[in-house]
Subunit: 335 residues, 2 copies
Amino acid sequence: MNVGGAPENGQVVIGLNAVIVAIIEEQPKVLVVQHTPETLTAQHETLTDRALPHDDRHEALPFGPFYPLKHRTLESGLRSWVEEQTNHEIGYVEQLYTFGNAGRDPREGAGGPRVVSVGYLALVQDTRPTAIENAVWQSWYHYFPWEDWRDGPPRILEKDIIPALRKWIAGSATREQREERYERACITFGLDDTPWSDELVLERYELLYEANLVNESQDGKSKPLPVDCRGTPMALDHRRILATAIGRLRGKIKYRPVVFELMPPTFTLLQLQRVVEALSGTQLHKQNFRRLIEKKGLVEDTGKIESQTGGRPASQFRFRREVLMERQALGVRHN
Amino acid sequence: MNVGGAPENGQVVIGLNAVIVAIIEEQPKVLVVQHTPETLTAQHETLTDRALPHDDRHEALPFGPFYPLKHRTLESGLRSWVEEQTNHEIGYVEQLYTFGNAGRDPREGAGGPRVVSVGYLALVQDTRPTAIENAVWQSWYHYFPWEDWRDGPPRILEKDIIPALRKWIAGSATREQREERYERACITFGLDDTPWSDELVLERYELLYEANLVNESQDGKSKPLPVDCRGTPMALDHRRILATAIGRLRGKIKYRPVVFELMPPTFTLLQLQRVVEALSGTQLHKQNFRRLIEKKGLVEDTGKIESQTGGRPASQFRFRREVLMERQALGVRHN
DNA sequence: CCTCATGTGCTCAATTTGAGTATAAGTGTG
DNA sequence: CACACTTATACTCAAATTGAGCACATGAGG
């Protein structure tokens, strides 16, 4: 019996996609690879026996294959190639989701193996240049400009997205559909005074995708949308994976102390706040944020003083590693 | 180039494990298959070219292979075999986690393919007998007796587990290790007045596993532990998958209205409360629970009356399906 | 009619949250 | 050096939420 790879059942390869996040100058950045057909071939070594369609020369998430004989676990497989290729030590790693849709990788299909991708979120502090060719740190709001509310509602929402959504709602075939679309747009995009919820990143992206308002969903006939307006597209379904990661991280920081994985060893409370704000894309009330952090006891004063604040010098704090185990239940819940 | 199934890289098969949950008579039940070597062979059709070790004739989670040529998505693959085999319509399905550890399936190894399992949580209401041979609904507290706090702290905790944990803590090699173990036991098992957290199901199981306090982790030399005391073991790593599912579901009901997937079309508020209690393994304050539910507006009075309550008749309610989209942010947060 | 069991409305204090005022302690400027 | 400007930090206060409980309603069964 032909176990597993039985041709009649189709073949499967497992890929590991990493969303590697760091904060650089108060911006939430992800490591992306600028693909040309050549670098793609080099990267996807085992996968690219076929050329990529022209369309897919987009920025991509770093990707590595999973070798069942070499890697004891999925996570160790991920860690090994990421650390090897980026020279970064990755502290926190979390499995996000496994993506197995047919057609998610255009190179599959007739004869090609099905590519099932396990997405991971990794948090790093160290942002030295990586050894990955063509890899750069890119703000994640580059891909999701409507997610950054740190300076109030993003202009692109008011000016472009919401009108387009209203048109999409109005273009419904039936009344039911219209109501459903309206409802959905309200929840995800905060139409008509519905509150904005920072965690619905994936839900928003999927709505835009279905409504044909992002470039990935263009059919190739209509002319592509202006890129800087609806965010930069990514290769394959990578923007979806990134949306999953952002949503997950935004949710997680509210109840687990994962922010500290992105912080330097010591930091001021305002620096911490800026990082939380960068991730969640919102603004926080400074005094209340400070009260919250102190109450949780996640942090302790080092006694040292930071004086490059531009104002009164601030105490430097350190994350109390002890509490990583202690009270799993606490993060930096804001709003 | 031998794509994907390249022998030098090892082969991979993808399996789909389902934790199918229903509430029957106020107990949270999961569908398990009582494996004999024969049924196992039938079930794991593509996988069992090798006999299972004797040890693994345990209860197992229903399992189905993923056929990349037949199934467009992982989820549809799961849905199709579950619905076909159980005759149950499954409403809610959620991907849990992808398990790819080497050695998680003893049938891999020399020459065998690596079995990567994608675990899913499915919620059903309908509990008619299934068409799966040897499948039965089993209370999940059968496998995790220490997780049921509905009648106060479970006796097994005080009498057996906590003493065993203290012994494990005391048996540490170094002072650091002792402190770490103590800390961890406090958080997960609520030692010494640390509060019990219902969501840490997996963390508790893993601690017991590492401390050699559950049967799966027995080395085969020492005599097996009394089963009814530390919960019934399951095949392979299925108890871990189940723990993941319970923890996830307990967390989820607090912020998403997923409980209703387990409810009949109409129900009284007490019935709803009992279901939440069954899932979370805790007791809730009746009046406050009612206040919470009403405030959220998740539910509407049908006008009908249930009089089989044993006391004053109760109003029957219905879940407002509309809110499934509406405010994603709300569940039945208790405690 | 009385008891028992549950359903349902309401109270009340403790705590948490959201928003703001006030003051401290640095930097750079005229 | 007085002054504006910036950030840090302490404290206040009202509104909202939560945890616990009392009281009464409404059925069944003796």
